[in-house]
Amino acid sequence: MTHETETTDRDEGLLGPLNRRKAIGWLSAGLAALAATLVGVPVIGFLFAPLLEKSPEVWRAVGPVDGFKIGETTEVIFKDPSPLPWAGQVGKRGAWLRRQDREQFVAFSINCAHLGCPVRWMAEAKLFMCPCHGGVYYADGKVAAGPPPRGLARYDVRLRGGQVEIHTGPIPIT
């Protein structure tokens, strides 16, 4: 007798209208889904946080204006806008700074526009050369040879209080 009742009950649970058993089933599943969301949202949010946060862009002084000779390109080093306390030397940034005349400065990213390797300024040849896949750029950052699809990315530069300042930015993703 008991056995028969159970069978009927189960059939209704699967196929019949909403009954107590089915409701409890949905409720349990909903509770589990809630628990999964409770864990999943922070986990995924935490992992993807870097995509949501934009790192601040600031002006960083890289040296006195008089320290740069007209017509020369030199590497300048500055601090990341907001380095994590444990970043250490990885919190440093580099750029190639070219003084064109008394007032005009241009700052190039050191990242090759091909795949991001650090380009080197060859002062005598007046070319930037990349060690990875053979990209070459002219002194003005335009592509001279090799695979780069575009010229070197630039940072904004301004002169303030006798200092050259660079507007920091992300690693340019081509």
């Binding site: 870097p50 990242n111 390797c117 040849a125 053979g134 070459v136 993703i173």
Partner: protein, 489 residues
């Protein structure tokens, strides 16, 4: 003794673990499996070696962008057996890559991926991808200069993915730049996330081995017909199957032990890959290269035809991966003997040749400039006039030698110029220097006319001994030259 026996019997009674293990170990395998079947278990052995050495290294390694390099210096130079452990872990990684490759080739050549083992193949392809991902993330954990720049290259590649490229790149870097958050992210990938996936897939892979049985040598089985295969497999197994332990297991044991011994010897004699310069992103004197198993891909990135790379950089790996995954669906029945599957054999040879030659090219990387070539020595320049000698100096100073080779000195990016005067006239040389080429900068704005003259005067002396320079079509006479006395070519 008696007490131990009682304890053992109690545990076995309550858990049945021993019985389950014995049943696993004695599961029947085809009678004639031989040495070609050891590579899968050897890959697993190498993986377990990685787990053991990796966990040990992780007890000291500090996954902090600012301190990882120092902690590795400590492990390498100060910690007891640290250098040896790093060597084991590094050569263990190489062993795992090599073995999974051989295993895959064996399975492919024997068509063991055919019915009913398609999912074994798919899980294997995923494991190959994860193994390479472990190799690459492991290289990044070395956190020297090479690691930082390899990571930037990886992020830039990810950045080429359509629509989500930039997001993907920033996800990998854990921000818009390489910084404090970057390394700990890759540490978590390398140590928790990817290994967890590997464990899960290895579990599936092994479960399928037990469920579907290992494939017999192709000659034993005949063509695969999904309608009858399982039945016939069972019949063959009943007829001449043997328990896995010890009939097949002893080979796995011997070969696995040999793998570990070889890795140990290499770790002790060759040692781990040396740490490069510190991970300071402002040191531009860098020469980023991936570890050997990805050098072929590094070469691909340099050699993609200009203009196609924006598409191919994402499409090539995607097509390669998808192609591998789809192998069992191209043909999951029929002939399994390699001798009857010439296209299979040919494609293995083609892929090995391609990857092999790209790897060699990756080592040589002729597309990279030689950044510090010595000035051309007198014995190469030879006895030339003052203008040509000045040209030889300019050749060194003005970047020509970074990309062009003369007499065994200089880069290999551009054509070798040891005998350039045999094939180019003076006029052609001037035009090339001033205007550049599709892979050469134009020097019109970099060199003044006197310098171009001097350079060309020098280049005109570069010819095979005893030959005349090509007739001049324009320009002033350079220094009179007779056959260049030295031309090692």
């Amino acid at each position: 003794m008696k007490a131990l026996e009682t304890l053992g019997r109690w545990i076995e009674d309550r858990t049945g673990i021993w019985e389950a293990l014995v049943r696993l170990a004695r599961h029947p395998v085809p009678g004639k499996v031989g040495w070609s079947y050891v590579f899968g278990s050897a890959t697993l052995t190498a993986f377990l070696l990685q787990v053991a050495t990796g966990i040990t290294l992780a007890t000291v390694y500090t996954p902090s962008s600012g301190q990882a390099y120092e902690s590795l210096q400590f492990i390498t130079h100060k910690a007891l057996l640290g250098n040896f452990l790093r060597g084991l872990h590094a050569f263990g990684a190489s062993a795992m890559v090599v073995l999974i490759g051989i295993h895959m080739i064996r399975v492919f050549l024997h068509a063991a991926y055919k019915y009913p083992r398609e999912v074994s193949w798919i899980s294997g392809v995923l494991l190959l991808g994860l193994t390479l991902a472990m190799g690459f993330t492991g290289q990044l954990l070395r956190w020297d200069q090479n690691a930082v720049w390899s990571l930037v290259v990886a992020a830039e590649q990810a950045g080429r993915a359509p629509f989500i490229g930039k997001l993907l790149a920033h996800f990998l870097l854990a921000g818009e730049v390489v910084g404090g958050a970057t390394l700990s992210r890759f540490f978590a990938f390398h140590v928790f996330f990817i290994p967890a996936l590997i464990f899960a897939l290895v579990g599936l892979h092994l479960f399928l081995v037990l469920r579907n049985g290992i494939s017999e040598p192709p000659a034993e089985a005949g063509p695969v017909d999904p309608a009858t295969y399982r039945e016939q497999y069972q019949q063959r197994l009943d007829r001449d199957g043997k328990p896995f332990f010890p009939h097949a297991a002893w080979r796995d044991l011997v070969f696995g032990a040999a793998v570990i011994l070889v890795v140990g010897v290499l770790a002790a004699t060759v040692g781990p890959p040396p740490l490069g310069k510190p991970p300071d992103p402002t040191i531009v004197q860098a020469d980023p290269r991936p570890d050997w198993y990805l050098l072929w891909y590094f070469a691909v990135l340099a050699l993609l035809p200009h203009g196609t790379e924006k598409v191919l950089i994402v499409l090539l790996p995607a097509v390669a991966g998808l192609g591998l995954l789809l192998v069992p669906f191209l043909s999951n029945r029929g002939e399994r003997r390699p001798s009857k599957r010439p296209w299979a054999v040919a494609s293995v040879i083609a892929i090995l040749t391609m990857v092999g030659s790209l790897t060699i090219l990756g080592y040589q990387s002729p597309w990279s400039p030689d950044f510090d070539p010595p000035p051309l020595p007198d014995r190469v320049v030879g006895e030339v006039g003052a203008q040509a000698a000045h040209g030889a100096m300019l050749f060194h100073q003005r970047g020509c030698e970074n990309c062009h080779r003369v007499g065994g000195f200089g880069g290999e990016r551009g054509p070798e110029l040891t005998r350039v005067a045999d094939r180019l006239t003076r006029r052609e040389m001037v035009l090339r220097i001033l205007n550049g080429g599709h892979n050469m900068p134009a020097f019109a704005s970099i060199l003044d006319p006197d310098q171009v003259d001097a350079l060309v005067a020098f280049l005109e002396t570069r010819k095979a001994p005893g030959t005349e320079a090509l007739p001049r079509t324009s320009g002033a006479d350079p220094e009179p030259t007779t056959g260049s006395p030295t031309d090692p070519g």
